[in-house]
C-alpha cells in the first residue's frame, strides 16, 4: 500500500520543511529551557564538587554559605581541625561582586577567599599556576574573560591573574575569582577609610567607650569594629573510614555551629535555592508545550482542510477511515519529528553562546522527543475529526 502521508509530505516538502523549521525553533527554545534548568542544577553540583569538601561548617541556624549569609570567626577552623575524623579544614569566604577587567569591562563574579592548597581552592587549572602568595594574586575562571597577567581591581587593591581554571561557578552561574583568604576577608568585611574614620569619631564621642579611668578601652573597641576576622564557612575533609553524618553531629554538639553534609548542601542548593527558578522554567515549558500543540494542531488542521476534496474522493472510492486518520496522524508525527530534529540541532548550536551554562542531556532529548510525538498525536485529533466528518458526497457536489 502506498504511504499517502509520505507522498503528501514529499509533494509539498517545501511547505512542510518550513513549517517543521518554525516548529523546530519553538522546540529548540523548549529544549534550551530544560537545558537552563539542568545547567543550574549542574552549576550547584559543580560548586559543591569543586569545593572538595565533605562537610560545610557555617553559622548556627543558617543555611549558609550559598543560600544564606553566614559569618563565623576564622579561628573556629582550628578547633574543627582537632575534632575526631577531620583530615583537613579550611576557612573560605564567598562574595558576589562586579569586578572590573583591565579593558574596563565589568564582570559579575563570585570572589572566593581560599587558603592555598586547602579545600575550597581550585582543584585544577587550565593555565598558569595556583595561588602561592598571601596577597594580590588571583586565579580566575575563564568565563570571567580574564587572561593570565591581567590586573583586576577588588575594592582598594589590584590583583594579578596568575592562573586560569574552568567550570568553577557559583550556584547562580557566576564565574569564580579565587584570591587569598586575607584579601577576601578585607574585601568582604573591611570598611572603606571614610567609614572607618566616621565610626572612630562616633565611638570616641560615646562616653561608654571613652572613659577617662579606663585607658585602652576605646582602642580595644575600635579595633574590634575594624576587625575582619570572619569567614563564611569552614570546609572540612574527612579522614578515610569516617561517616559524614557522624562527624557532623559531633561538630554540631560541641562547637555550636551548623554543619551540612554533601547531601544536605545539595538539598539546600537544588531543592531550595533554585526551586523558584525551576518552577518558573517548568511554567515556561508547560506554556511552550501548549503553544507547540496549538501550532501543530492549527497547521495539521489547515493542511487537512486544504485537502477536503481529496479526502472526499478517497472516502468515495472506498478508503477506510483508519487509512485517512493514519495519513493525518503520520503527517503530524512527521512534522513533530522534523521539528524535534531542527530543535535539537539549533539548541545544540546556540547553547554555548548563552551566558549561563545550558546542559542538554540525552534523557531530556528522549523525553522531549516522546513529548513532541505525544503532543503531535494529540494535536492531530482535531484534524482527524474534521477529516472523518467529510461526506464522500462532497466529491460529487
Amino acid at each position: 500500500m502506498i504511504s499517502l502521508a509520505g507522498r503528501d509530505i514529499l509533494h509539498g516538502w517545501g511547505k512542510f520543511a518550513l513549517t517543521g523549521l518554525g516548529l523546530g525553533l519553538l522546540i529548540g527554545v523548549t529544549l534550551t529551557m530544560a537545558g537552563v534548568y539542568r545547567g543550574m542544577v549542574d552549576d550547584a553540583q559543580a560548586l559543591l564538587t569543586n569545593s572538595q569538601a565533605d562537610l560545610w561548617v557555617v553559622q548556627k541556624d543558617t543555611q549558609g554559605p550559598y543560600a544564606e549569609a553566614s559569618s563565623i570567626k576564622d579561628d573556629v577552623v582550628r578547633s574543627v581541625r582537632g575534632m575526631p575524623g577531620v583530615a583537613t579544614a579550611a576557612n573560605v569566604t564567598y562574595l558576589t561582586m562586579q569586578v572590573q577587567r583591565a579593558d574596563g569591562v565589568e564582570a559579575r563574579t563570585m570572589v572566593v577567599g581560599v587558603e592555598p592548597g586547602q579545600p575550597g581552592a581550585p582543584g585544577y587549572l587550565v593555565a598558569g599556576r595556583q595561588l602561592t602568595r598571601n596577597h594580590y594574586e588571583a586565579v580566575a575562571d575563564i568565563k570571567t574573560g580574564l587572561k593570565l597577567g591581567d590586573a583586576v581591581r577588588l575594592r582598594r587593591h589590584s590583583y594579578t591573574v596568575v592562573g586560569l581554571t574552568q567550570r568553577m561557578v557559583s550556584s547562580g552561574g557566576d564565574p569564580m575569582l579565587f584570591v587569598p583568604l586575607k584579601d577576601a576577608q578585607e574585601a568582604q568585611f573591611l570598611k572603606d577609610n571614610d567609614t572607618i574614620v566616621n565610626d572612630r569619631t562616633r565611638t570616641a564621642a560615646n562616653p561608654a567607650f571613652n572613659r577617662p579611668g579606663v585607658p585602652g578601652l576605646l582602642d580595644a573597641v575600635q579595633n574590634l569594629q575594624t576587625s575582619s576576622h570572619n569567614v563564611n564557612a569552614v570546609l572540612v575533609q574527612l579522614q578515610p573510614g569516617w561517616r559524614a553524618d557522624e562527624v557532623a553531629d559531633s561538630l554540631k554538639r560541641w562547637k555550636h555551629v551548623q554543619v551540612y553534609t554533601r547531601a544536605g548542601m545539595e538539598e539546600i542548593l537544588v531543592a531550595k535555592l533554585i526551586a523558584t527558578s525551576a518552577k518558573q522554567i517548568g511554567m515556561f515549558l508547560a506554556i511552550l508545550a501548549v503553544v507547540s500543540a496549538a501550532i501543530v494542531a492549527f497547521i495539521i488542521y489547515t493542511m487537512t482542510l486544504g485537502k477536503i476534496r481529496e479526502i472526499a474522493v478517497l472516502k468515495l472510492i472506498g478508503t477506510r477511515n483508519m487509512t485517512i486518520a493514519s495519513m493525518i496522524l503520520q503527517q503530524a508525527l512527521g512534522l513533530g519529528l522534523i521539528g524535534f530534529m531542527v530543535g535539537k540541532i539549533v539548541a545544540t548550536l546556540w547553547a554555548p553562546i548563552f551566558p549561563k551554562y545550558v546542559l542538554l542531556t540525552t534523557s531530556d532529548a528522549i523525553t522531549g522527543l516522546v513529548a513532541t510525538m505525544l503532543i503531535c498525536a494529540l494535536a492531530s485529533t482535531l484534524a482527524i475529526r474534521a477529516a472523518l466528518k467529510v461526506d464522500p458526497a462532497e466529491a460529487i457536489g
Binding site: K315, I317, I396
Partner: protein, 244 residues
C-alpha cells in the same frame, strides 16, 4: 486509442425499481425521488438528464451507495444490493469494488503520480503494489496516457487528467460506472472524445455506464436517455449519433 485490455467479466448491469428518497420527516419531509425505474445493461451507456433540483444528484448518491434510499430495490449485476434496506454489509467495499466514479473535474489525488492514482483502488482492495501498478499501466496504455504515467496530475492537460480519472474508475473492473457531468469543463471536441472513450470502455469492459449530464454537446450521442423530472424518471430513445 490503443486496444483496451480490460476483462469482459461483468454481467447484469444495474436495475433500479421503484426507488424513493425522502429527506426529513413529517411536515418537513421533502420527496426528492418519487418513483425511479432505470435499467442499464452491461456494455451500455445511458444518459440521465434533467433540470437543476430534479433529483439527479440524489439519484447518483443513491446509486453510488453514498446515501440510503427510503424504499425501492437496486440490483447490481446479479446481486440485490438494496431492497428497502441495504443488502450488503460494507458499503465502502461496495463503492470500492463494484462502482466506478467519474467526476465533473478529474479530482485526481495531487500528491500521487498518475499511475498511483489509478493503482490506489486495487491497492485499497488488497491487490499487491506490483499487480496494482501493472493494472494501472494497462489501463493508462488503453486510454493513451501511458506516457504521463509518472507525472503528477498538475502536469497533465485537462483531457489527460480526465482520461486518467476514467482509468481510475475502471481499475477494479466495476460492473457499473457513474459519471457525474464528465464533459462539463471540456470543449465540444474533447467532450465528444470522452464520450467516445466511455462508449468503447463500456463495450470492452462490459460495464454499464450512467452519465449524468445537461451538456447539450453530448446528449445526442446517447441511444437511451432517462429524463428525471420532479423525482421521476421517463425513458426516451436518444439520437445515438455516431462518435466515429
Amino acid at each position: 486509442m490503443n486496444s483496451m485490455n480490460t476483462d469482459n467479466t461483468n454481467t447484469g448491469g444495474i436495475r433500479i425499481e421503484g426507488l424513493r428518497k425522502v429527506y426529513g420527516k413529517d411536515d418537513s419531509a421533502v420527496v426528492a425521488l418519487k418513483n425511479v425505474n432505470l435499467v442499464v445493461a452491461p456494455g451500455e451507456v445511458v444518459g440521465l438528464v434533467g433540470p437543476s433540483g430534479s433529483g439527479k444528484s440524489t439519484l447518483l448518491k443513491c446509486l453510488g451507495a453514498i446515501i440510503e434510499p427510503t424504499s425501492g430495490r437496486m440490483t447490481l449485476g446479479e446481486d440485490v444490493i438494496y431492497d428497502n434496506g441495504w443488502q450488503v454489509p460494507d458499503l465502502r467495499a461496495l463503492r470500492r469494488d463494484r462502482i466506478g466514479f467519474i467526476f465533473q473535474a478529474p479530482y485526481l489525488i495531487p500528491f500521487l503520480d498518475v499511475t498511483d492514482n489509478v493503482a490506489l483502488l486495487p491497492m485499497l482492495a488488497g491487490v499487491g503494489n506490483a499487480a496494482a501498478r501493472s493494472r494501472a499501466l494497462e489501463l493508462l496504455t488503453a486510454l493513451d496516457v501511458q506516457h504521463r504515467a509518472k507525472a503528477e496530475p498538475s502536469q497533465l492537460s485537462g483531457g489527460e487528467q480526465q482520461r486518467a480519472s476514467i482509468a481510475r474508475a475502471l481499475a477494479n473492473r466495476p460492473p457499473v460506472i457513474l459519471a457525474d457531468e464528465p464533459t462539463a469543463p471540456l470543449d465540444s471536441e474533447r467532450a465528444l472524445g470522452v464520450m467516445r472513450i466511455l462508449n468503447q470502455m463500456a463495450v470492452r469492459a462490459n460495464t454499464a455506464i450512467i452519465v449524468v449530464t445537461h451538456d447539450e454537446k453530448i446528449i445526442p450521442t446517447f441511444k437511451r436517455i432517462y429524463h428525471i423530472r420532479d423525482g421521476q424518471t421517463v425513458e426516451e430513445a436518444g439520437e445515438g449519433r455516431s462518435l466515429d
